[in-house]
């Protein structure tokens, strides 16, 4: 660093780098950084949408309040629960689909398109369709299906109003909607694994499971890390399904931080409170992502 020549070269590259990164950085700054700083600022005030009262600095009051609010704590817990269920499920399903499609059977393109299709649908549309699928009573599609496969043992349930079933119902539809995206990434990863590795493993006498365990999985590591991370981040954003299908109920079992924040600002005009929630939320997602990256990196060093 102390050598002038090195510095000049670095500077030259830096300028070009900034130029190229500029548009993206501008977008990030304008739409991510600036709103975050604004939220951070607002979280320390009493700002309300449309209030004629003067704006005041209230210190940490909004944060104290949301952490004393059982609904917000419940929302945090639900976010963790949802992520905890959906990340393994969706990753496993996506991996399974990708492995199937990678067999090189006939019609792969058709199935790949079919599996990917839900990803293209807007979540609001998917949610409305699944409200119909989860329709209560024996005429509901899901109830009918469960009754059929259990040979009539299944009693019709109201999935979205059932305290035990509401969250799993959201998980199921979210997995269905999102798995195609992860599948495509894993499929690309699978197709990059050199054939020679499998041939070598076969020569060493490795059969199905061992080939998967000792060749496929290690080779897919980077793709899997990426998939897990992106699924986690997307899982924390759970909102559309809740807004359209359950409105946080029954009795708060499906409420999420995002839903609570939107409720605070759009039904109660509490901009400051919602800002405090989004700040906490941002820090939480940041922490989870950071921990995941740490763990993944350490593994790499060991390997």
């Amino acid at each position: 660093m102390s050598k002038p020549s090195t510095r000049r070269r670095l500077n030259d590259q830096t300028r070009a780098g900034w130029l190229l990164a500029g548009p993206a950085m501008l977008g990030l700054g304008l739409f991510i950084l600036l709103p975050f700083l604004a939220a951070l600022g607002m979280a320390f005030t009493n700002l309300r949408l449309g209030s004629p009262l003067p704006l005041e600095f209230v210190g940490l009051k909004q944060f104290q309040r949301i952490f004393a609010d059982p609904e917000f704590l419940r929302a945090l817990l639900n976010n963790l629960l949802f992520a905890g269920m959906i990340v393994p499920l969706q990753t496993a399903l996506a991996l399974g689909l990708a492995l199937l499609l990678n067999q090189g059977l006939r019609g792969t393109v058709v199935f790949r398109t079919l599996f990917f299709m839900p990803v293209v649908f807007p979540m609001s549309l998917v949610a409305v369709v699944w409200v119909l699928i989860y329709a209560p009573g024996p005429n509901g599609m899901m109830n009918g299906f469960l009754e059929l496969i259990t040979l009539g043992v299944w009693e019709p349930r109201d999935f979205l109003r059932d305290p035990l079933l509401a969250m799993p119902a959201l998980v199921l539809l979210s997995v269905w909607q999102g798995a195609g995206f992860q599948m495509v990434i894993l499929l690309a990863g699978l197709q990059q694994i050199p054939r020679e590795l499998y041939e070598a493993a076969t020569l060493d006498g490795a059969k199905g499971w061992n080939r998967f365990r000792y060749v496929t999985l290690p080779q897919l590591r980077n793709a899997l890390i990426f998939v897990v991370m992106i699924t986690t981040i997307l899982a924390f954003r759970l909102f559309d399904q809740v807004q359209i299908m359950t409105r946080g109920g029954p009795n708060g079992v499906t409420t999420t931080v995002m839903y609570e924040a939107v409720q605070a600002v759009f039904t109660r005009q509490q901009v400051a409170r919602a800002s405090a929630m989004t700040v906490v939320f941002f820090l939480m997602v940041l922490a989870v992502t950071w921990v995941q990256r740490r763990l993944a990196r350490q593994e790499r060093e060991v390997a």
């Binding site: 709103p35 995206f181 009795n251």
Partner: protein, 441 residues
């Protein structure tokens, strides 16, 4: 999980955190020039039939005169209030604005509206139902009027009541609390699943407050203290309110209430009694015919009470054509127009002239009870305070807990303390700034 959600949230955040401050800064300047002589009108896109009538009315009004023309914008009902609030912050409200009655007080407090009492002809005001005037009045001025009101009652199946030997009540001799509990048990004894009452538990949102708070008020409680020093603690979690909600909880937990998941509990005669509004009448009367009875709610101690209030109209504070906007509103209140709208949505006509000509609501008509309740002081206005959005949201949450078996006092106490915090945060909603100016206009 969804990429779409991400995009939408980012956009919302952008709106809130970037556009909002910019707009706040900009709205101090002049309003950008709207087109010449156009009165902007915003309304909620209700049922298909309502939309058609309103579009028709606008066309008829515009054809009637050559000067100022009305331009109608329909906004989806689901997020109506959120959208109007955002437009209000942006200084972008129309001349004439429709909104659901209980939101009036918060619009007035924010200084968005101007009083209507000087704009609307006195003869038009004099013909309105008292409940319409009551809903539209805040800080001693009239700010909004509706062209229709709502009716809440207990629908009953005459055949099932007769079979159980139950007397038919009236406003003068309603069922009392113990009698009603007994009626539920007697009906349950003759019923296949014992679920004999429909409280419309399948409805979400405002229904809970609208439909159930009259039972609290009948027991002598309320959602909030109605004096200037409004507080919920000691009222919403007071003994009367807790008692009423315990009673309702006992009906639900005791298996007397049909969950009504298919929204057909009463129409298919699965239950004998159904709490419901004027909007249920067409379907019920079609299914039950002469067996349909419309009754008053039970008297839980302080006389039978019922709900009131519906969508209403107000002229905005910044309107450039307040007289023309009020002129269109006066047109909507002409008997023919009120009858056209109420024929489309089944609601109670807001003017006595229209009621007299309404086949359903005229004296002796099948829904006459709704008018009697509104005129006779049986209906209770939902709290006239800018805190109403929070009051109703918290009450709904509390009810959600109560129906699944939670401790009634604890649930109501939690709601009351959130409501009181909200009121304290807003310093009891003092009339300041623009609202003060408007109230003295």
């Amino acid at each position: 999980m969804t990429r779409y959600a991400h995009r939408r949230m980012t956009f919302r955040r952008f709106l809130l955190f970037v556009a909002l401050p910019l707009v706040l800064a900009a709205c101090n300047g002049e309003r950008s020039g709207a087109a010449g002589d156009i009165v902007e009108v915003w309304a909620h896109a209700g049922q298909d039939s309502e939309r058609r009538v309103l579009r028709d009315q606008v066309a008829r009004f515009n054809a009637r005169q050559s000067g100022i023309q009305v331009r109608l914008t329909l906004i989806p009902e689901g997020s109506y209030n959120a959208q109007v609030q955002a437009a209000a912050v942006a200084g972008d409200l129309p001349d004439l604005l429709e909104f659901d009655g209980p939101f009036l007080y918060s619009y007035v407090w924010q200084g968005r509206l101007q009083p209507l009492d000087a704009l609307l002809p006195a003869s038009v005001q004099a013909d309105l139902l008292p409940s319409i005037i009551e809903q539209g009045t805040y800080q001693d001025r009239l700010w909004s009027v509706g062209t229709f009101d709502s009716g809440l009652g207990l629908y009953a199946d005459r055949v099932q009541l007769k079979r159980a030997g139950i007397r038919i009540p009236s406003l003068e001799a309603p069922w009392d609390a113990a009698e009603f509990d007994d009626i539920l048990e007697r009906l349950a004894g003759l019923d296949a699943d014992g679920r004999v009452l429909d409280l419309k538990l399948n409805y979400a949102g405002e229904w809970i407050t609208y439909g159930l708070s009259p039972l609290i008020q009948s027991a002598g409680g309320d959602l909030i203290d109605r004096t200037d020093d409004a507080r919920a603690e000691g009222v919403l979690d007071g003994p009367s309110a807790v008692g009423a909600m315990r009673r309702i909880q006992s009906w639900i937990i005791g298996g007397r209430v049909d969950p009504n998941i298919d929204d057909a509990a009463f129409a298919t005669r699965r239950v004998a009694l159904a709490l419901g509004g004027h909007w249920n009448y067409p379907r019920y009367s079609e299914r039950l015919g002469d067996d349909l009875l419309l009754l008053t709610l039970p008297d839980l101690g302080q006389g039978p009470k019922t709900g009131q209030g519906s969508w209403c109209w107000a002229v905005t504070a910044d309107s450039r054509y307040p007289e023309a906007a009020a002129g269109f509103l006066a047109f909507l209140l002409e008997p023919e127009q009120v009858l056209a709208m109420t024929a489309a949505n089944g609601a109670v006509p807001a003017t006595r002239a229209a009621i007299a000509r309404s086949p359903l609501y005229r004296p002796g008509g099948p829904l006459d009870l709704f008018v009697t309740q509104l005129e006779g002081g049986y209906s209770v206005l939902r709290p006239a305070t800018p805190a109403y959005p929070v009051i109703t949201a918290e009450f709904q949450k509390a009810f959600d807990r109560i129906r699944s078996g939670a401790d009634v006092h604890a649930a109501l106490h939690r709601a009351a303390s959130v409501i009181d915090t909200e009121i304290a945060d807003n310093r009891g909603y003092p009339l300041v700034g623009r609202a003060r100016v408007e109230a003295l206009r």
